[in-house]
Structure formats: C-alpha cells, structure tokens
Amino acid sequence: MPAPNAAEHPVLETHGLTISFGGHVAVDGVSCAFHSGTLTAIVGPNGAGKTTYFNLISGQLRPTAGRVSLFGEDITMLPAPQRTRRGMGRAFQLTNLFPQLTVLENVRLAVQSHARMGLNLFSVWSGHVELIERAGHYLERTALADRRDMLASALPHGDQRKLEVAILLALEPDIFMFDEPTAGMSVDEVPVILELIHGIKQQQDKTVLLVEHKMDVVRSLADRIIVLHQGELVADGNPAEVIASPIVQQAYLGVAVEAA
C-alpha cells in the first residue's frame, strides 16, 4: 500500500456534526474537512452557530449527533483538555482569562501546560526560568510586554483580547481557532493581531480556523471561506467564489459589508 500523502489527509474533520439545545438545532449536520497550511474563514450572521461549532470541535460541548476527528482519529467523546494536548488551541470570543492572576502568569500557565509540567509537585515554579522566558516572548509578540505584571482583570478590553491570543500562541498548537479575535479592538490594535495570524498561516504545518465578521479581513487572510446559516453549512469554496455567490451576497454579506 502506498504511504498516505500527509497533505491530502485532513488534519481535522467533522462529519454530520449536530447539536440541539432543547429542540433548537444550533449546529445542523455540518461536514467539513480542514487541511494544514490553510486558513479557513467561517462566516455567517450572529446566532448562525459559529461559536457553537467551535465548542463542538474543541470539546466544550458534546454533539447530539455526528463525529469529530483529529489526525484521522475519532475524538468525539474526548474531553477538552486532551484535545488541547493533542494540538488544538482556541481563543475565545468572549474573553475568558484568569482575572486575578497577572498577565505573565496567564501566559506562563499555557506554556507550562504545553511543557507538560502541571503535575510537577515539588519544584518551585519561579525556578523554571525557561517557562517564564517563553511566556515573555509571547507577550512581546502580542505587544503586551510592558503590561506583564498587571492583573488580567485590570487590562483594557483590547489588551484582554490580545492576551487571549497570547495564551493561544503559548499552547503552540497545530490547529489555531480564532473566534472574532479583533472584535472590540481599537483600529490601531487590529494590525498586530492580523499580522500574527498571517504569520501563522505562512507556516505550512499549521491549520487556522477563523471566525470573523470584517469582510476586508476575511478577504485578505482566507484561503477558503465556509458559510454557516442557522446551523447549516450553506457555502464552501475559495473566497472570490463564495463572496460572489448569490446566496451569500443577498443573505448575509450584504448586511455584513454594510455593518463593517
């Protein structure tokens, strides 16, 4: 048998993924495969099920039906922490930090998780200088280095969004999931994040999933766009095609472009 070509095998795949909340079907039979070296933008109006789709992929929710597979292995029932350990990383839409810990500590915890040092009981954490340095590195990349000793809860909103991204980077995942990473950021903060995402996309072994409303951002970054509407996948293809398709034009993008 010939060795399977890695490039042809999807890194991540969902098969008929469905979840209903008491009769309301939030994600409805979504089948989709994601390949490495590709940035897929996921668009759709508010309430379309984009965040819920992410929650099903990264393990915060269990599907009512369907499957998720990662590197060809079924992970549908695998809890979130184990998915993270297998290379999935997620930045949340609603900022979700350790509010009473410092900015540095928020990131250092992610570095420590990636280094598999959580169950190290008898060494002093501050003695692991390499973890602290790595955390500092990610703070520099997200332009947060001068805020490292502030409590996360004391950061302005835009910086909290950046900290979300710094934590994601610190996990060094194979799959990056961004859920509206620039929402609520001021105009001058956005480019830092977009450059970071662009940099990740350049690495051929990384897979990026990006939920984003701003059409100019999607156009400049995406290799592929999928459209969710009322939980269903209604369009999938290269950006030019999808944006031009009549269903997208009239149903959402018209609205989204105006709103942006």
């Binding site: 922490p81 009981l121 002093v124 954490w125």
Partner: protein, 354 residues
C-alpha cells in the same frame, strides 16, 4: 538559592509584621519545652503545632483549590486512630507505630481518591455534601465499632518506652528542664509539623500549585489550556488528606489517646474553618497565624474572663457578660468582627490586600 529561600519555596511573608509574628511563633514553639515547661502550656504548644499543619492542609483545599470539604476531621481521625489501634492491638513498639502510620496513610489515600473521583467532576457543593455524609458515617462507625475504637471513650494507649514521660533520656537537665520522653514526643510533633508545613508550602508554590490557583480562578479556561480539573482536584484532595492524617498521627502521639472529641467531631471541623478564615485563606501563613491565635484564645480566654469576672464583682451585669461560660460567645464576636474588618484574613490585611 539560599537555604531560607528554598525552605520557604520563594514565598516570603511579604510584610514585616507578619515576618516577625511568624518568627515569634516558630521560636516560641521550637523552645516551648524550655520556655513554657508547664504541662498545660506544653499541651497548648503541641496542639498549636498539630493545628498549624491541619489548618494548612485544609487551606490547600479551600484557599488554593476552592474546594469545600467537611471530611477533613475524618482524615485527621484516621491518623489518630491508626496509631491508637496499632498500639493497643500490637503493643507499644516502634514497629506497630510504623504499621499504624502506613495503614492510616494508605486508608486516607484510597478514601480521598474514591470520594474525589466520585464527586470532584461535578459542582463543588455536591462534593461538600458528599464529604459531610461520608464524615458523619465515619464518626458513627467509629463510635459503633467500640471493640476496635473504644467507642465514645476512645483509646488510651502506651507508646514505646523512650517516648514515655517517665523515661529520662539525658542524665543532666538542660536549662533546668529534664529531657524525658515527653520532651522527645514534643519534638517529634514539632519537627513533623514543621517539615510537613514546609512541604505544603512547596506544593502550593510548585507548577502544580499554580494550576490549582488557575482552576480556582477559572476552571473552564484551565481545561481549555489542557489541565484536567478532576485530576488536579483529586491530587490536591489526596495530598490534603495525607497531611491531615499525618497531623492526626502526631496529635495521637502527643496525647497518647485517640477519641471522637479530639479528632472526629464536627466542632473541630468548624474550628478549622474559623482558623483558616481568620488567618487568611490561600496564604499558608494564615494557617500558622490563625491556628496559633485561635488555640491560645480557646485555652486562655476563659482564664482571662475569670480574672475579669472577679475584678468586676459587684458591678451589675458586667460579671455575667464576661463569665467564663460565655467564652464561646466572645469568640464568635471576635470571629464576626475579624471577618468583617479583615475579609482577606490577618495575613491578607498585613500584606495590604484590600
């Protein structure tokens, strides 16, 4: 790293007053047999040692991990009864003491893991209820199995001869104090508690300890970055139970007695809660401050009030209010005031945390 830095795991008191208070407690306890040689005061000193460890181990759960457990006195009791049963059934030898220790620690590991795995997956309130149920069941069991446990009377037992009060260990007295088995027992308690307190301080300052704080802060996010909450909570619960068991072992060695009133009772559980809150949760040093103040108050407040009652004789109402029987009332008032004015405990207050 300096020795002090290593012993304290880099976690300094961060307040001059706190550092002085801790040093006073340490020196006072280290020299207790010479400075406070009376039977009663040495009993208080030994109890302070044991409770500093017991409260610190509870702080690992409540303060650092955010878990409310009512089973802490059960593990304390397992330690005390382990030693007591081994010494009564197998005789007062070092071998039977060692066997009692190992059996008690094993029993606590198994029990804490079972309770943890059954209930730490879900809401903390459920865990609190489970621990209350298991602990109540356990104290009923201890009073029912009187052949083994001595029932309500508990077990009075003998220790190996070198720990007996009548055994002279040195020919000459040191600073006018005879070095006997009682003094040796005290130092076993003192050094055992000190070593285990420093071990707990190390654990909360380890990479593992940082994860516990992350889970307490935001367990959803801790899971999302790869930490399995149930694993960390279970390990913390197990370590805390082991330390409480060790405290029970030390207490029984000191008292040469194990009974429901000294270890298993719900009153002690409430005392532990008070000590950890008064001292300051999630600080470890709060356990030392809280336990010391509380136990001294518990033992000497009544004396103080008796003095007051005598002095106030003839004045209407006042002698009644400060009658020794009202000591619990005053302790309660002290507690409410301290929680009201120092919500972060004494240590939090001294460190300037608002």
């Amino acid at each position: 790293m300096s020795l002090v830095q290593r012993a304290l795991s880099g976690d300094y008191p961060r307040s001059r007053v706190l550092a002085v208070a801790l040093l006073l407690i340490l020196v006072g306890l280290a020299l207790a047999p010479f400075v406070f040689p009376g039977t009663r005061s040495l009993n208080v000193a030994a109890k302070v040692c044991v409770f500093i460890l017991l409260v610190a181990s509870y702080d690992l759960l409540l303060g650092y991990t955010g878990i409310v457990s009512f089973a802490h006195t059960m593990f304390f009791g397992i330690g005390a009864y382990g030693i007591a049963i081994a010494a009564t059934k197998l005789g007062p030898t070092w071998g039977s003491l060692a066997l009692g220790c190992v059996a008690a620690l094993l029993c606590s590991v198994v029990l804490s893991l079972v309770i943890g795995l059954l209930s730490l997956r879900v809401k903390t309130i459920f865990f609190a209820m489970i621990t209350l149920a298991v602990a109540s069941f356990f104290s009923i069991l201890a009073s029912q199995l009187s052949d083994f446990t001595g029932g309500e009377d508990g077990l009075t037992f003998k220790l190996p001869v070198s720990l007996a009060p009548g055994t002279k260990l040195l020919e000459t007295a040191v600073f006018g104090v005879e070095i006997n088995g009682k003094v040796l027992s005290y130092y076993i308690v003192f050094f055992g508690a000190l070593f285990l307190f420093l071990a707990l301080l190390r654990i909360v300052n380890s990479p593992f300890g940082r994860v516990l704080q992350a889970i307490r802060e935001n367990d959803f996010r801790a899971e999302a970055i790869g930490y399995r909450g149930v694993v960390y909570r279970s390990v913390a619960n197990c370590l805390s139970a082991l330390a409480a068991t060790a405290a029970g072992i030390l207490y029984a060695i000191w008292l040469r007695y194990a009974g429901p009133d000294t270890t298993l009772s719900l009153d002690i559980m409430i005392d532990i809660l008070l000590m950890v809150v008064i001292g300051g949760m999630g600080t470890m040093y709060g356990a030392a401050i809280g336990a010391t103040l509380f136990i001294i108050a518990q033992n000497y407040l009544q004396d103080l009030m008796k003095l007051g009652t005598d002095a106030a004789a003839g004045i209407p109402l006042l002698p009644n209010l400060i009658h020794p029987d009202r000591w619990l009332l005053w302790l309660g008032i002290l507690f409410i005031l301290s929680v009201y004015y120092f919500p972060t405990g004494i240590v939090g207050r001294l460190r300037g945390v608002k």
